[in-house]
Symmetry: C2
């Protein structure tokens, strides 16, 4: 059985019984894993077999023609928790998933950059804001969607910020103004909860957490 995802669509195929169906699914689930290759990226063959290669112990998409193994690994979502005079900068999303919901500036880390550069870039792209990082803060595994969130605490350099093309709005929220019911992702609410709790003590140790899909239980 194979699973394909396409934003909010889940496609399940079982060639053995010639059956497939597709269904709309919760957006967080829809982001699971990678897009399956249908053709070999090295020789163009359509003979992709999902099997455990010799000397390996994980299922991989292996080309039956040239033998190329297509590896896929978890993605890092990197971002920041920008602060200005005890207020937190949030962005209202202008894109799916979670259009219209509030988030910290964050996105997929790019090749050839450091985590720190990724956090600065995402904050500039999504909130038009310049920041100074003050330390790695939350490290959150999301095994169901093969992502690891890595968010930095940061200070806003100035108030000259404006929503980027992926944001409808960027604004500062005092602790008692945070729109808890309108936050985009559980990683964001978890990070904000830790931050507000840690503000009381003034110590901000790195928080290493696990968030599993609610349907599977066990939120770490």
């Amino acid at each position: 059985m194979r699973l394909y995802q396409n934003r909010t669509m889940l496609v399940v195929c079982c060639p053995a019984i010639g059956y497939f169906f597709h269904a709309h699914v919760p957006e967080e689930t829809a982001l699971m894993s990678h897009i399956e290759p249908r053709f070999c990226s090295q020789c163009g063959s359509d003979q992709i077999v999902n099997r455990i290669p010799d000397g390996d112990d994980h299922l991989r998409d292996v080309c039956g023609a040239c033998g190329h193994i297509h590896y896929f690994n978890p993605k890092i979502v990197v971002g920041a928790l920008p602060i200005w005079e005890e207020k937190i900068l949030l962005c209202k999303r202008a894109i799916e998933p979670r259009y219209g919901k509030w988030t910290l500036p964050a996105g997929f880390m790019e090749e050839q950059e450091t985590l720190e550069e990724g956090a600065l870039r995402e904050t500039l792209e999504e909130a038009g804001a310049r920041i100074v990082l003050t330390g790695l803060y939350t490290v959150i595994s999301l095994p169901d969607i093969s992502q690891v969130y890595m968010l930095y605490r940061a200070n806003l350099s100035d108030l000259d910020f404006a929503p980027g093309r992926e944001s409808l709005q960027a604004r500062l929220f005092a602790a008692d103004e945070i729109p808890w019911d309108e936050l985009a992702f559980r990683t964001i609410s978890l990070t904000l909860k830790h931050y507000l709790a840690d503000c009381a003590s003034g110590a901000f140790p790195v928080r290493n957490e696990i968030l599993r899909h609610p349907a599977r239980g066990v939120a770490g």
Copy 2:
């Protein structure tokens, strides 16, 4: 101009002048980045164009036939620093790169697992050892090869360990026995140096670092 890598081989192609060459390169450099697609993974076309898609600001491998964008992102290398009575468990590598050099058990994080599960799996695979994690310890960006190392401190559960198929040997080293000149990677020596220094104070905060290619200067 395009770069392809194949373990210790670097291939440079410049179609504009019909020129290409290949050369053996240092192994750490050879591991840079991803394997470029030559065919579209979704439609099989060979019309892959390296360009910035609309609404993006990074070069991507875009299919000229179906429009599919092939995204590539940094990989996480996850592992552990296993301790038994103040001694550190190292593995002697049985694979390239760095065959015969000593390392902490670590490897590419797999999809659908947590960082913690990855650290346990790699330690079992490479050293045949069972551990109890005691905390995330080093988080090291390697932008030149698009990797992020994430290593956990850990206690060995017992002395029943043995080298896995990727290791020639697994053994415990006291602080004054560490083979500094025979370590496989700079991430490993940096982690061990931090650990020995932190043992003096008994506090092990998460260490967030950057290691750039020596030729490019600036080791963070």
